[in-house]
Each structure stands twice: as structure tokens, then as C-alpha cells.
């Protein structure tokens, strides 16, 4: 009788580490295609609508810009989260830090309204980062001082931030000229505080540029710098990290602060650019989706760049497929779920190999 057995590799396979995401996408296409076929849709057309049309199809000029607009904040947030995840520090509250960054950034900008000056936008960028950082410091300091669980505290603070966002939209930051409608002034109509598309039709704004810089910065930090080494050491083996002289308190503060600041920046670039204003439902779940992006990119900066683009593609392609093929939204969500499922499933191959087991006749 033959059976399978998983055998741990002595050293993780480099080849499989890079091959598994490709394999996962292919498996998702096959399984998703079967699901679309079962729903009575042409599976090849559906896959083409999701993966091909937004990039190279007839209306790609519209979708392509959307792609970077969606991928930018996902990548920026995921890069920060990945640093913490690598160190074993679990910031689940990026959504809240994203909101606070947007409020701080927009608040500083609106305080200057209607002054036009070159220094306003840089100040807003700083304020956005500080807003996210301060919000992330709450779980960080509670963890360091009182050993609270950063997963719970950071997550619960998301809901506090949402309430704060609603209060700001209805109160302090409400547009005084909007006759009672909730929401702030539209920053796109306030040039000194806006974050416009830099090249028409590309979707590239300062936030996308910041995401690319973050990818490069994180890559260098992790692969070349002692801090990055200590981050990975702490995540893999906390006791060895202590022996190696890593200060756990400093590491928690650094990783929470960095991920909070990057999430805050993402929120700030979003509110001054694509969203335009602070409103009650300003946040769109980027902070949570970025967790998936971080793991999809296996916590590697380049992987996160690709995963962010892929995730944005499935969102945009998924919307297109809903519109043009009348695919149900649930089918698209299931499709996205399959992607994560297969990715985590085949991940085992980078650390284990499959062996065919022939039982000796007993």
C-alpha cells in the first residue's frame, strides 16, 4: 500500500519558496474555473476578465490606474506589518492607524485652509505618520509595561478609531459650507493640501511613490542591516535573540511604531488623494486586507509588492467580472479566498518534501 509522507527539509528550499506563489495562482485558476463553470459561466472568459482584461484588455486604460490606486496603500501598510510579523509582533490594528493617520493629516491641512503654501503638504505627511504612530504606541506601551496582548488591543482600537472618525466627520472636521452633510471639505479642491495623480491615467500619486520607497527601504533593512537581522532573529527564536543582545522592549516599540507610521501615511495619502475627504465610511478595509497581502508576499518586501498588485488585480478584475458577466459577488470572494487557501496550502512544500511511502509487508 502506498501512502504519502511529509518529510522536513534540512534547509528550506529556495526554489520552492518562489515557486509556491505561482503554483498557488495556477491552482486557484483551475479550482476557480471549475467553480465558475458550475455556476454556468464560461470559466476561460471569467479568468480572462479577472486577470487579463484589467491589464491588457480593451478598457485597460481605465483599470490600470485603479490598479495602482488600490495596490499603493495595501503595499505601504503590508510592508510595515511584515516587519512586526517577522519579529513575532502582531499588529492587527493597521486599519485604525490608517484612520488616525488620515485624520491627523487632513486635520493639519484643514487648519491651514485656505492658505496656499508649499510647506503645508509636507507637514500633513508628517502629521499622518505621527497619527498612525501614536495610535500604534498604545498597544506597544501597554504590551511593554503590562504584558497585554497587542493583537487584542490593536484590534479593539480599530473600533475606537472608527468612532473617532465618525465624530470628526460630524463635528470638528465637518465642512462648514456643506449645510449639515457629514464629512470634511474636499481636499482635492485645496491644492496646497491635495495629493493629485502625478501622471494622468497611471493612478500614481505620492502614496504609490511612498509604497515603492517603503519596499526598497524594507528590503535593504531586512537583508543588509543589523536591525533587520535582529527582527528576524526575534521572530524565529526569542531566546536566541535575547542571548544575541536584542532588547525586546525596543523591538516592540520599533516594529509597532514603524507599522503604525506607514499605515498612517497610507491613510493620509488616501484622504488627500483618491478619497478626497474625511467621511464616516472613509476606511475601506485596506488595513485588514494588508494582513493578507503581507502573508501572501510571505513577509518579503518584493513578495509584498507583487502580492499587493495581485490582490488589487483580483479586486478590480472581480468587479469587472461582476459587471460584465453577472458573476455573483460571493463567487468573487470565494475566488479570492481560494487564492489565500492554496497559497498557505502549498507553502508546506518549501519546508517539507513529499515522499511516497511503500509499507514493507508486515
Amino acid at each position: 500500500m502506498a501512502s504519502f509522507r511529509l518529510e522536513k527539509r534540512p534547509t528550506p528550499s529556495q526554489a520552492w519558496t518562489w515557486a509556491t506563489p505561482v503554483l498557488a495562482v495556477l491552482l486557484t485558476m483551475v479550482a476557480g474555473g471549475l467553480m465558475f463553470a458550475a455556476l454556468g459561466k464560461n470559466p476561460f472568459l471569467a479568468i480572462k476578465t479577472i486577470f487579463y482584461d484589467p491589464v491588457l484588455g480593451e478598457f485597460a486604460f481605465y483599470y490600470r490606474g485603479q490598479l495602482l490606486v488600490k495596490a499603493g496603500p495595501l503595499i505601504l501598510i503590508a510592508i510595515g506589518l511584515a516587519m512586526g510579523f517577522k519579529a513575532g509582533i502582531w499588529n492587527i490594528g493597521a486599519e485604525g492607524q490608517y484612520i488616525m493617520g488620515a485624520i491627523f493629516g487632513a486635520g493639519v491641512g484643514l487648519a491651514f485652509y485656505p492658505t496656499e503654501a508649499w510647506y503645508i503638504f509636507p507637514l500633513m505627511v508628517i502629521a499622518g505618520a505621527v497619527g498612525g504612530l501614536l495610535w500604534a504606541m498604545i498597544p506597544a506601551i501597554l504590551k511593554v509595561r503590562f504584558q497585554t496582548n497587542e493583537i487584542l488591543v490593536s484590534l479593539l482600537l480599530v473600533y475606537v478609531a472608527e468612532q473617532f472618525l465618525a465624530a470628526m466627520s460630524l463635528g470638528l472636521l465637518r465642512n462648514p459650507e456643506a449645510t449639515g452633510f457629514p464629512g470634511s471639505r474636499n481636499l482635492q479642491q485645496f491644492p496646497a493640501a491635495s495629493n493629485p495623480e502625478l501622471w494622468a491615467g497611471t493612478g500614481i500619486h505620492f502614496g504609490v511613490v511612498a509604497a515603492l520607497i517603503a519596499v526598497i527601504f524594507a528590503y535593504i533593512l531586512l537583508s543588509r542591516h543589523l536591525m533587520g537581522f535582529h527582527i528576524q532573529l526575534a521572530g524565529q527564536s526569542p531566546k536566541a535573540a535575547r542571548f544575541g543582545g536584542v532588547n525586546p522592549t525596543a523591538l516592540v516599540v520599533f516594529c509597532m511604531g514603524l507599522s503604525g507610521a506607514l499605515a498612517g501615511l497610507a491613510g493620509m495619502f488616501e484622504v488627500t488623494g483618491p478619497a478626497g475627504q474625511i467621511s464616516i465610511n472613509f476606511n475601506a478595509g485596506y488595513g485588514f486586507t494588508a494582513i493578507i497581502v503581507a502573508f501572501l508576499g510571505r513577509l518579503h518586501p518584493i513578495g509584498i509588492l507583487l502580492a499587493g498588485l495581485l490582490m488589487a488585480l483580483t479586486y478590480i478584475g472581480g468587479e469587472a467580472a461582476q459587471a460584465t458577466m453577472q458573476l455573483p459577488a460571493a463567487a468573487i470572494q470565494a475566488f479570492q479566498g481560494m487564492l489565500l487557501f492554496f497559497l498557505l496550502g502549498v507553502d508546506v512544500l518549501s519546508n517539507y518534501r513529499i515522499r511516497l511511502n511503500r509499507e514493507a509487508a508486515a
Partner: protein
Amino acid sequence: MTDLLSLQGLTKAYPGVVANDDVSFTIAEGEIHALLGENGAGKSTLVKMIYGLVKPDSGAMQLFGAPYAPPEPRAARTSGVAMVFQHFSLFEALTVAENVGLGMEDAPPMGQLSREIREVSHAYGLPLDPRRLVGDLSAGERQRVEIVRCLLQDPKLLIMDEPTSVLTPQEVEILFATLNKLKAEGTSILYISHKLEEIRALCDGATVLRRGKVVGSCDPREKSAAELAELMVGEALTPPERAPAAHGEVVLHVAGLTSEHVDAFGTKLQNVGFEIRAGEILGIGGVAGNGQDELLSALSGETIGPEETVRIRGEAVGHLPPNARRLRGMLTAPEERLGHAAAPDMSLTENGILSGWQRQDLTRAGFLRRGAARTFAEEIIEAFDVRTPGPHVAARALSGGNLQKFVIGREILQQPDILVVNQPTWGVDAAAAAAIRQALLDLASKGAAVLVISQDLDELMEVSDNFAALNAGHLSAPRPARGLTMEQIGLMLGGAHDMDVADPAEAHHIKEIYEEGHS
């Protein structure tokens, strides 16, 4: 005597290595049979096959002449084969009786079980109180729990894996009395060890394994320890040598060190103090769990305390973290190789950076100098004969002994003024252990102060200038190692502070009872 267990041509291969190759031998009824071999010789795989944990690829076993092929340990126990593992599988938060009950197929009610534990443990000279929490027991007492658990099932063959590695000399004496009593009752014992003197004192027959093959069998009482060692290693071993040197000034000074325990059932250090001079090796003996980990942690800087407790050349450093102490010349090598001294999934190059980046100058403005780090790892591999394809290999891929050589080599090559090592040769084969001890002696003769914490008393006697014993967090006053008798060491280790560790009177008493009964 008739054969109890016979093995014929047992073979077991793992990817890349043949753990056992055509192993055959027999154990007679009422025989204490030694299984001798270096680490990695295949002893563990062999006993796991006998105990049903591993299935042989080929070969056969017979128990009492009938075919024996246990698919799992439970079947082995039903057939009368019991095993005491080197690492205990006990729950510290449960009582002795509860632990024993958990390991039994059909445990009797708790009251009856407690009575049986009391009876059996006293009958065999291993007194145990069934109501005590295992977390409060010494290592020797924990071993008794494991042994009593086996004895309650009335085994025909008892397998013991390195049983004396955690015992004081007095406790060893008690254990041997028990084993001899079991033998007299007709129980066979398969005794795994690399301590040759013990085997010569205890065993009737011996099978020697080297690289998975039987390379010899003999009556150990008729061979000298050196002959056995040669059989085991395949070459003659040279004992470590050192050039005698005068000791210099006091380099490491520890006073009033009292620390919190590292984990819940750890031991607090109680006002520990000693000093080491340049060129001196201080050996600290004691059974694991008596504060060794806490002492290492307090010296490495992983736990910090009042600044006056630790002084390097007069400078108070008790409050400084690990890296600051490394810069001042004090390096440490913890006992646990994987996960403490080294990160399992990181390469040897990266593990070299782990503790060596400051002194080996492996960074520039915070950026890692990968080339220099690889060179450092290669130097360690070369100088300490670490068997590995190269510095890119993950630490977990190395055998325990090879990783130990790497970890010790990493610290020694950084030319420390003070080196603290905990269990430097634990689980390391004889040749590698000799190399590590020689390296420690060389380091001291170059003028470094060396602190060796170990359970292996032979090792400590071999390398130390002075000897102190750590027991329940107390450190005895150091005494010159030369001329100390095992009796005196035993008193320092066990008798002085804590009654739970076997006291010599008890040992003698049990020995007398045993001798009266069987002479």
C-alpha cells in the same frame, strides 16, 4: 541463562544515513547488557525499534523465542519491555501518583496506586512520596518516578537510556543497587551509556556500535576503559593536556548574586559568589535544574540585576545587557544549543553574526558585512572540525555534537577574556568532547578566565583548577580540584544543603540492606 531478546540483522535507514546496519545480538535473562557507542552511532534508533517507536526496514527480533515486532510502544509494554528515557516525560504541575497513573495502560484507583508506588519504591530502594508535585522533585527523584512507573508493570526487559547523566554519585550508587536487585530477580536490563567506568562496574555483557554497525561485543569487566573507548571511537584517544601556568589577577568577580528563577519551576540563585583569576578554570558541578541556567543567564546579561553583583576586572557590570558585557570581554555559551545559543532556521553564517558581530567587526554603520561573516563562520567550521557542507546550512541541519562545536568555537574564536560555558560537551561524542575540553584548556593557558558549568564530574575533574558545587541555588565555596575524592564531591553536591537529593547516609543504608539480602 536463556535468551530473553535476540536481534537478527536489524537495519534502519533514514535519508542520507544508515542508522542501523545489520545489527544482531542477544540479551540473556537476568543480564545487564550495555549498549555502547558515540553519539550518532545508532543506539537511540536501535532501542526505539525494540520499544516499538520505529519500525525496522529489515531484520527480526525474538522475545522468549517467539517473533517480536511491536507496532507501537503499548504493544512493547504489554510484552514486558519498558523504557526509561533520558529526557523525562513528566508533568511538573501534577503529583507523582498522577504522573505514574497517566503513563499506565489501566491505572488502578489513585489510593491503591499510591500504596503500590510507596511499596515498590521502597522495595527497590528508591523512596518516593506519591503525593508530592513533580515540579518540586530533584532530577534524581524524577528519574525514580519514571523507573517506578516501569517497575509497576513488572517488566522482563528494562531499557535505560543514559540514566546516570542527571545523578549525583550517591544517587548513582542507589540506582546501581536497584538495578542489581532487579537483575537478581531475573529482569534483564539494556543499559545505554558512554560512561565506561559505570559499564565496567555494572554490566555483564556489552555490544559496541559504531556508525550503525556492531563493531564488537565483550565482557566489559574484562576490558579496560581505554580498550572500550578505542573500540567505541575506532582510534586511541589522547586525554587533554595543559601547560601549567600561574594564575593572574582576578578577572571575574561575582558576589551576592541572588536572582529570580527563569521559569516557573526553575531555581533561585541564593547569594552566589566566586572569583576567577586569569588563566584559571573554575568548574561548577551539580545536577541540572539547581540554578545552572539562572547562573548562566545572570552572567551573560540576559537577566540583569544590581550592578555590584558582577564585576569584570573591578568594573561593575551586573546591570549591563549582553552586548555591553561582550564588549568587555565576557562571552557565554548556553546549554541549549538549538533555540538559545543558535537560531535553528538561520544559517551558520547568520548564527556567527548572532553573538559575534561586535567583536568580529561584522557590521559597518549598522550594515552587515556578509562576506566577513561568512569568513568568520568558515573559520569556526575549520578550526573546530564542524562537519557540515558549508556555512550556508541552517543550524538545525547539524547534529547536536557538530552544532555544539560550532557554538563553543564561535565564542572561543572571539578571544574572550572570560568564557562561561554551560554543559559544553553534553550529547557530544567522545572525540569531539575531548577537542572541546582541549580548546577550553588552551584558552585558559593563554590567560583567559574560564567557568565550566557541567553535570559531568569526570569532565570537571579533567579540566578544572578549582571546583564548586551548585545545589538548590547555593554555590559551595570553591576548592582545589586536584585531590578531591568522589565522596567529597558527592557531599558538596548533595549532602550539604538539600535533603531531597540523596544523602550519603541513605545511600549507605540502602546499600547495606541490599548486601545483607544478597550476599
